[in-house]
């Protein structure tokens, strides 16, 4: 009984020591502060500002109107009224229009041939051609959207005006549009870029800065030869769990605030969707943070110098964003890369968070991701303990040799 008491007391003392020591390290290292505090604080704002306007409005276009008819003018009037494009100039022929594109005065050309009005009057199909610079896919989308809308609208009116007298309204509809349809964009109705990308970037940011910070801290310790002196080795030798939980708790303490900021405050400030309730989001954030911390601690055991982890971890943010299935649909990712993606907490974290936060899914609907995250926690606990165990062994060996 007494031994157990001593054990607990000592355990608690060591744990406390490790925890505080790690906190001290974090707050006295400017590089660590950059990744643990500054980046999580400023990056979300920067991203939100970049994508703030959500979609491309008013893409500049140049127009070639060879029809010079009231109908072509009507078409262009409606086109310039759409929010997506802005007519910046008129050209007489294709060569001139292409020069404007070349000079980047415009990103698209709308070409109305001289047969346009003639065709419409003679009940022939009339054509409008659009040419889009493909440097950005959003220019194409904006052009296509604006022109499709205008043409559908005019088509409807033309069809109605062609109806023979004496037809009822119902008959008219039956021939002009026998089946009507509507498209409903349930989530992210404005097809906004901020809503699409920022939630995923937030989760990835949390993981990457956490892993980076952990590796930097471990690297510093190793360079100073401190790593396993953290534990008062002289007193006892079974402190692995103490080291792992003590350090882990220090990182988590910081990251709880980062979660509140990145997942709670940022969406509020920038009016991003927030359909999930706080308990639901925490239910995902906690296993995600745990998995990311343990993942980071495992990786930290593999990196020898503190600077090297920057090289390895920073670039991986871009592939990881793609592996999370947001920018490139998850089901379109080849099997091999999907399996590879299961190694990283961000894959499941992003998926679960998006479903809860953007789609309003309940916890039971993200069961797979939830379980996968806990599975990673379990797996990376073992790898972390193994990594630290190996480190401890080599440290003792060195100490005994010395």
């Amino acid at each position: 009984m007494n031994r157990l008491k001593t054990y607990i007391r000592e355990g608690w003392r060591d744990w406390n020591y490790i925890f505080r020591r790690e906190m001290h390290t974090i707050f006295h290292d400017d590089a660590l502060l950059i990744f643990f505090v500054l980046v999580p604080l400023l990056y979300p704002i920067l991203y939100a500002l970049i994508y703030n306007n959500e979609t491309t409005r008013e893409v500049p276009v140049v127009v070639i109107d060879q029809s010079h008819s009231s109908m072509s003018r009507d078409y262009l009037r409606r086109l310039s009224a759409t929010p997506d494009v802005r007519i910046v100039s008129y050209a007489t022929d294709m060569e001139e229009a292409k020069t404007r594109i070349k000079k980047r005065d415009a990103y698209g050309i709308v070409f109305i041939p001289n047969t346009f009005a003639h065709d419409l009057v003679n009940m022939q199909q009339a054509h409008v051609s659009i040419y889009v610079d493909m440097g950005g896919l959003l220019y194409y989308k904006a052009m296509l959207l604006a022109n499709t809308e205008v043409s559908l609208e005019m088509n409807k009116e033309i069809k109605l005006s062609r109806q023979s007298i004496g037809q009822t309204r119902a008959q008219e509809l039956a021939t002009t549009s026998p089946i009507q349809y509507e498209q409903v964009t349930i989530y992210n109705p404005a097809s906004g870029f901020a809503q699409f990308l920022i939630p995923a970037v937030m989760l990835l940011l949390l993981q990457q800065t956490l892993v980076l910070g952990i590796c930097l801290a471990a690297g510093t310790e190793r360079e100073r030869g401190l790593q396993y002196q953290l534990l008062p080795v002289h007193s006892h030798h079974h402190g692995l769990i103490r080291i792992v939980t003590g350090k882990g708790a220090a990182y988590l303490t910081l990251y709880i605030w980062n979660v509140v900021y990145c997942l709670g405050l940022i969406p509020k400030i920038f009016h991003l969707p927030q359909l999930g309730t706080a308990p639901e989001i925490w239910a995902i954030a906690i296993p995600f943070l745990l998995a990311a911390t343990l993942f980071g601690m495992t990786i930290s055991g593999l990196i020898r110098h503190r600077e090297n982890c920057l090289m390895i971890i920073v670039f991986s943010s871009v592939p990881l964003l793609f592996l999370s299935g947001i920018s490139w649909p998850w089901y379109a990712i080849p099997e091999f890369w999907r399996t590879f993606a299961c190694l990283f907490p961000s894959t499941f974290g992003v998926q679960a968070y998006i479903k809860i936060n953007n789609l309003g899914a309940s916890l039971s609907e993200v069961q797979t991701e939830f379980l996968a995250l806990w599975g990673q926690v379990f797996f990376y606990t073992f790898t972390t303990i193994f990594t630290y165990y190996r480190g401890l062994l080599s440290f003792r060996k060195k100490r005994n040799e010395a």
């Binding site: 920067l46 594109i101 054509h127 021939t175 600077e307 309003g360």
Partner: protein, 395 residues
């Protein structure tokens, strides 16, 4: 090659190169940043998006009418290349749940009585629901479903018109008086692999260029060998820096050219301006990123802070270069900020040269920007020298 026994002036230079060579060989970071990681990314992105456009995206059908005609619609929808009907749901609520679980990105809804209404010429409405939180999947499925609805409507309209004795072209002219013809310039297949890999891969190369430049020079500071280096260079900072960076530059140029050859000659991504022009752009980009990297170290002259600067700048490049979200849609001050990122200029030059096939002279301001980045450290050469010689490393 100038031999070590050459003019006295050269001795220092080649000694530094030799010294650097030993470091590069013994430090695994170089192998990782120069070869392994860029090649990994090249393979990763081009295989991940290997199909160009995602195919067989999961979609659902809620067919409450359930007649031969409506079942045909579901089958036809499945025949579209981008759409795969993975499930039929009994009602809209179930379909929405499946969407929330992420099992489908869109569903097509046919209300009860649709076929009957068509037969009675009552013009029924069908709808389709897309999830644009997954922007690419949502908009591609939306496109397919809109086409399906148009086709179904057209088919029904044709039946009515044919009964009235109209010819095929008359029918088309009647159903769709104005048609839009699209001509995407440069990337006519709207291939996402072309659209993304072309910038993502050089972007990642840029991260490594920033970081490795900071690392190579920063290590001298960290290990306190700066004085030794300057002694070898006979106190000539230009000699010291160019000799230090020579090896990594050769490697980066080789990898950069390899990327260009792979993208344009092997994968045949559109390159209307000629491969050699893209090689020139890549070479300028490599040097510009190194110039920027040196500048980072001049601003924050410790290894870890310089590297932090490099990594943050490198990561922001992807968002601010305008590849996916156009810079003209950003706020004014961010538009200005974007000019400080080499990847922004690379992107503009790539569009100009590879996609549009214009001469480099058409985009000369961006070429000049690259030259500016390369010359940037020259402005602070005194400070750089001072840093290398006198900075103390504080771990």
């Amino acid at each position: 090659m100038v031999s070590a026994q050459g003019r006295n002036n050269d001795t220092g230079f080649w000694n530094i190169v030799r010294r650097e060579f030993r470091r590069v060989i013994h430090d695994p970071v170089y192998g990782f940043c120069l070869v392994i990681a860029p090649i990994f990314c090249l393979v990763f992105f081009t295989t991940l998006m290997g199909k160009g456009l995602p195919t067989d995206l999961p979609a659902g059908v809620v067919d409450l009418d359930n007649t031969t005609t409506t079942r045909m619609v579901a089958r036809n929808l499945d025949a579209f290349e981008q759409t795969k009907v993975v499930a039929h749901y009994a009602n809209v609520t179930e379909a929405r749940r499946a969407m929330q679980r992420g099992e489908i990105y869109a569903y097509f809804y046919i209300p009860k009585g649709t076929t009957e209404k068509v037969n009675r010429q009552e013009s029924p409405t069908v709808s389709f629901y897309t999830n644009n939180t997954f922007l690419v999947a949502g908009s591609l499925l939306g496109k397919d479903m809109r086409m399906m609805a148009e086709l179904a409507s057209g088919a029904a309209g044709r039946t009515v018109l044919r009964a009235k004795g109209a010819t095929e072209s008359q029918m088309m002219a009647f159903l769709q008086p104005i048609v839009i013809e699209t001509h995407p310039i440069g990337n006519p297949w709207i291939n996402y692999n072309v659209y993304l890999s072309n910038i993502l891969i050089p972007g990642i190369l840029g991260i490594f260029l920033f970081m490795l430049t900071v690392y190579t020079i920063g290590l001298e500071i960290k290990w306190g060998t700066g004085r030794e280096l300057m002694a070898l260079a006979e106190d000539n900072i230009f000699k010291a820096v160019t000799a230090k960076l020579l090896l990594q530059t050769i490697f980066f140029l080789t990898v950069g050219f390899l990327i260009m050859v792979y993208l344009y000659a092997i994968l045949h991504f559109p390159c209307y301006g000629g491969l050699w022009r893209m090689l020139i752009i890549m070479a300028l980009y490599v040097l510009a990123c190194e110039g920027m990297g040196l500048f980072m170290l001049i601003v924050l002259p410790t290894l870890r802070l310089g590297l932090s600067f490099a990594s943050l700048w490198g990561v922001i490049s992807f968002s601010i270069c305008g590849m996916s979200y156009p810079v003209i849609a950003m706020d004014g001050w961010i538009q200005g900020l974007s000019l400080l990122f080499p990847l922004r200029h690379y992107y503009l030059l790539y569009v100009n040269t590879a996609l549009d096939g214009y001469a480099l002279s058409n985009a000369w301001p961006y070429v000049m920007a690259f030259v500016g980045f390369i010359l940037l450290p020259v402005l602070f050469v005194g400070r750089l020298k001072n840093i290398i010689k006198n900075m103390e490393y504080i771990p």
